[in-house]
Symmetry: C2
Subunit: 745 residues, 2 copies
């Protein structure tokens, strides 16, 4: 135990290494699986090439961005004592690992898809095994790399700035170590934003473009090999749902740990780890979650064709969550002190805690973690209710499809807006509850608890698009119907897990942002964010508006890119004779190129808004106004995220319900009926909602919080402080003379 106390800090990256080790083993297993016939391999090759083409194009742009931002960060690191130019290195590593995690995920996904198709020739059980193992590789890779990166860098910076200088673990020295570490999170989240937005635009431009010309104009089915945009469409599933989601969760995972660590620095803890147990705890919990995700993943299997795939996934998911919760209880008991903990700022000059200060115990911390687990679970359940087939929300949209396109849209918008109520109440209660148990550290550690099993969550999320791709390959290769039937079974489950995964991602982003927000306030050296002040309130308004313009940009980007795709597909049908008779191969790569270029071009504007706004507001108006801005962005972003994701999900499943036939006022309606056409309109509107702008809200709110956290020491520096004070005095008082007044009236 003594040994563990001393060397726990070095154990953290080892958890990550174990994850990566298992990833390599599972990846090798997937690669060994048979790839099927030549046609399948060829098609899978196109998809893999297209995905890599996108990644390369994205990396080129991001390379410039990372270089410029790195230089700026290095320079800014020299200007204040509590930062360092080393932050640039930290930033570059974060950016690199995030991009690398996306690459690993995409590579395994583009390998697993065709192997899943091949496995589906034999049995459902084998198809599940291949596709889910592919997902697991992604999950373990993301979580493993995150823990290795954050854990190792923490060891380095802690040694450099705290141990070697003999600095105080609650003081400036540790603040510097964590500020430099924040660069890692900034790098990860920046890449995530571009990956999510770019990927989201890519996948929907290709999807809408392929559908509008292929299905509607040319009358060929989905995933038909004659459609020039079909490869781009399948590439889109990988770059949007796999790489985008992976980068998103990599960012959340890192940001949550970091925010908790920053808040943990302020806690005076008489523990056996030199007082840094509250700082280490989130990383240890993440490590445990990674290990138990490996255990949970092993439980995901079925034996017979009729076994429930959903139950198998639930089994693995629940096992990893419950095991992590139990292990966390013992770890908290061991690591945290028996004395109550409190914040450094709550001590007066005599070392006595001020009256009314916040004090909390190790059991309180565990209580907060449980709150986080409950919030994550409830959010997933609510999201599923609002987007699942056969439940009231989707049924109401189906009914409103019977009176036309407009009423279908009105119904979906109303459901999306309504669906914000329960998640917000859960989230507000979660904030209230986790704060009750352990203050703002409690809010952060709740998020960390929720994110602990990220590896498992991501495995379940990534499994969906792999199965979807497998179905696409089966269709394009004209395989027998039972193959498609098996991949459809997996795909249907994948749709549900995609919905619940989105609920989980939004909840985690919201709690992470709040944790970052709290960390920002501490580092910026302000006491309050008082919206009774006019300038802070103005910041709140501007912040609330950002998710609206961000969504508008994403949505209209999809519209423009889809238009370009439509024109290219029309051109190919017109200019390349023999496509429709399978005599000529369409120029898939042209469509891939259009989607790639459009998405890279269109991701820049929203990305820059997220990065630059906090910097401008922070330096022009000071940290408190920036705090108002962040609160506005977070509240409005969470609402818009839930609204758009759920409306999109509900429209999608309303449309899918027509495939099996639906009953409206006693009459049965199927595909190609008028109500079905109305439901297709809703689904198309919902596409950019649920796959581009909706999920981007998560990264928007996290990235703006991290940027603020990174610039916080600069806003707190003495020079800026006095200047801001002057500005504020100027603002508050046009006549600074003191006037003596009689109290007569």
């Amino acid at each position: 135990m003594e040994f563990l106390n001393t060397y726990l800090i070095y154990l953290i990256p080892v958890f990550g290494l174990i994850g990566v080790l298992f990833m390599v083993i599972k990846s090798a297993w997937v690669t060994k699986q048979p790839t099927g016939d030549e046609s399948m391999t060829e098609l899978a090759g196109y998809i893999a090439d297209g995905a890599m083409a996108f990644l390369r194009a994205e990396w080129k742009v991001l390379g410039y961005f990372v270089a410029v931002a790195g230089v700026l960060l290095a320079w800014s690191g020299t200007t204040v004592a509590t930062s360092s130019p080393v932050i640039a290195i930290s930033f570059i590593i974060g950016a690199f690992l995030s991009a690398f995690a996306g690459y690993l995920g995409m590579r395994i996904a583009t390998k697993s898809n065709v192997r899943t198709t091949q496995a589906a020739k034999t049995s459902l059980a084998q198809a599940l095994k291949v596709s889910f193992t592919g997902g697991t590789v992604m999950g373990l890779g993301v979580a493993g790399l995150a823990i290795i990166g954050l854990g190792s860098l923490f060891i380095v910076f802690y040694t450099m700035y705290v141990v070697n200088t003999g600095g105080n673990v609650n003081g400036e020295a540790m603040a510097k170590a964590l500020d430099v570490l924040a660069g890692f999170s900034l790098g990860a989240e920046s890449i995530a934003l571009f990956a999510r937005v770019g990927g989201g635009i890519y996948t929907k431009a290709a999807d809408v473009g392929a559908d509008l010309v292929g299905k509607v104009e040319a009358g060929i089915p989905e995933d038909d090999v004659r459609n020039p945009a079909t490869i781009a469409d399948n590439v889109g599933d990988n770059v949007g749902d796999v790489a985008g989601m992976g980068a998103d969760l990599f960012g959340s995972y890192v940001a949550t740990m970091l925010a908790t660590m920053v808040l943990g620095r302020e806690i005076v803890s008489h523990d056996n780890m030199g007082g840094i147990a509250p700082v280490l705890l989130p990383m240890v919990i993440a490590g445990l979650g990674l290990i138990f995700s490996i255990v949970g993943a092993a439980l995901v299997r079925i034996k017979n064709e009729t076994d429930s795939v959903q139950n198998a996934l639930n089994m693995g998911n629940w096992a990893s969550i419950v095991l992590t919760a139990i292990a966390t209880y013992f770890v908290v008991q061991w690591m945290l002190p028996n004395d109550a903990m409190h914040l450094t700022r709550d001590l007066d000059a005599n070392g006595v805690i001020k009256e009314g200060s916040l004090v909390f115990t190790k059991n309180g911390v565990f209580g907060s973690i449980l709150v986080g687990l409950v919030v994550g679970t409830l959010m997933s359940i609510i999201t599923e209710y609002y987007t699942a087939m056969g439940k009231r929300p989707v049924l109401s949209i189906i009914k409103q499809s019977s009176t036309g396109h407009a009423t279908n849209i009105i119904g979906g918008l109303a459901i999306g807006m309504e669906s914000t109520v329960l998640p917000i109440l859960v989230l507000a209660s979660g904030i209230y509850g986790s704060y009750y148990f352990a203050g703002l550290y409690g809010v952060a550690i709740a998020a960390a608890g929720m994110m602990a099993t990220t590896a498992m969550q991501l495995a379940i999320d990534a499994f969906g698009p792999i199965a979807d791709n497998a179905g696409g390959i089966a269709e394009m290769s004209q395989l027998p119907p039972e193959v498609r039937h098996r991949t459809d079974n997996l795909d249907a489950v994948g749709n549900t897990t995609a919905a619940t995964g989105k609920g989980f991602a939004i909840a985690s982003a919201a709690l992470t942002s709040l944790a970052l927000f709290a960390a920002f306030v501490g580092v910026a050296g302000i006491e309050h964010i008082d919206i009774y002040k006019a300038n802070v309130l103005a910041g709140l308004f501007v912040g609330g508006m950002i998710p609206f313009i961000f969504s508008a940009l994403c949505i209209s980007a999809v519209g423009r890119a889809a238009m370009a795709m439509v024109e290219e597909v029309r051109r190919q049908f017109r200019e390349i004779p023999g496509i429709m008779e399978y005599k000529a191969r369409p120029e898939y790569e042209k469509c891939v190129e259009i989607s790639t270029k459009a998405s890279i071009r269109e991701m820049v504007a929203p990305g820059l808004i997220a990065l630059i706004t906090p910097i401008v507001i922070g330096f022009a108006f000071g940290p408190e106004v920036l705090g108002g801005l962040l609160a506005g962005v977070t509240v409005s972003g969470v609402l818009m995220g839930i609204f758009q994701s759920n409306a999109g999900g509900a429209w999608d499943n309303a449309k899918k319900s027509f495939e099996k036939g639906v009953e409206i006022n006693g009459e049965m309606f199927y595909k190609k009926s008028e109500p079905h056409k109305a439901s297709v309109t809703g689904d198309t509107v919902g596409d950019p909602f649920k796959d581009t702008s909706g999920p981007s809200m998560n990264i928007l709110i996290k990235l703006m919080s991290i940027v603020s956290l990174v610039i916080a020491p600069h806003l707190n520096s003495e020079v800026n402080h006095s200047q801001r004070l002057q500005n504020e005095l100027k603002l508050r008082s046009m006549h600074t003379q003191t006037i003596h007044v009689d109290k007569k009236v």
Copy 2:
């Protein structure tokens, strides 16, 4: 001057009386105008009867509500020293006057419509004169009653609680007078909410119902006398756009003055009016605005058929704004002291102003008023840009109509979201600027300045639906085309003024809410609203969600009511033979009844959310959390209001553009083309957006702020305070023992 100083307070209701006097004169003039032939009179009679039927049904429900709320208010008034049971009387008068103003407006509108049709037989100039005079009657009635009511009640309560008790005009005595006066505003705003929501549901249910069966299924034109729902449709214009808008602006007008007065109490002012000049100022400015609205209205006239109606309206509008601004300058110079003013709370025990306190001058106050005028003007211009034909936003929607229903919807949603950017920046700058000039009193007086010419704004707003109705009557009575041509000319201008009026209404609601918010903080006795506290942040989240569920309820209510209307119209066509051959009269009153019942039923749930939420949150979690809730509601409500109103307006004008033909990629498209059909879908989706949920946001945010202001003294009372303190301590600290800690690490 001496005389004026003393009796100014009594002059305020006289301004109102002058307004009402002019209203009576102008109303008599309208009534004297010829009503046209028997058929026209009969149809106008149906519309007037239908409108009255709605009002009577609404009044019945509201009667119960006012009785119950009045009893509760009277009881609550007995429980704290700074309130009184008299608040119930104040509340009932406010509710009555608001309902009465709506009644007056509706009566004159249902008289002016047919007389405008008749006038349109002679000339455009005469038609404008009749319809605009009708609008002026409404505007003068609303503003006049508001000033009479608020001014007289202030005299009564000021005399009762301050003069007769020898109380301090900056102290508890004045606080009590203003708290009781707040009941008036609460009454007005409660009625406004139900009128706006009920009217909004009514008008869109009738509109959608009439269109879906009449135009689409039966193939008869709009406003055809054979359509059973056509009368309900025309009634809807009156109950939604006239009575709803009137009650909305009545509420804003009163609430703005009240909020400024509450903030004015805290100002120590050495003026010649016993220190109450800052309290009287907003009412005096409103009085001036009313007088100059009468002057401006006299300038609205044209001579020839080809004269621009829009220019005539602009002329009158600008004249009233500029004259009011000039007069306000002199009034501010006269009323306010030459010394700098400051807040009571900024004095220390020795009567010396604390360092860093806010002080401001009379010129600062005038500066804030100018900021308010600029904000109102810019908001109108921006709204017009985003919803006008021929501008980039509407053109982009037209272009996206060429690829179908879905892209039209996506385009409109993106435009609506984008359209929040400039208004929010203007609003944030306005908050910042008006605060810079005169603190929070400056924010409130900016709103008061903006609202000063409400009479003129409302005259312009109400003129639109009157012209619309006149066109309807012309169509139903099968009058010659030049009559319809003239009313169409007026109607087109009315559409533009409706859009700019909405921009103005949102801006005024936002500033009013902020003023009320500031007043609430003062009365509730809290110093900050610190969103760094977890419970306040949770309140912010819940508040942000309310506009979403409110919108969802409004939108789906329209859907349900329209469904009921569709079924009734289908039934009449089926069961009453001879309707289509003009041989049998449809049962108009059945459709009127359906719209009436549905709207009354559906307005209850959203109304109760707005009324009850602040009470529950305030008493359960205290004033600071309630402050967070209000900030969330205001930010999210303003955003959702702008988004929905502008998206709806842009869709509407995209559809209207097809009437004259539009060019998309070099090809001309007209009515009945495929792109036009897509644009009709957008227009139908936009209907509840722009006429039900969008404008309701204004009242939602104002009403929740007023409810909070009224309950603020209760949240501030000693008993509650100590109880909340205990709760807070419990929350902040699970272990209240003070622990001594060594500062070792």
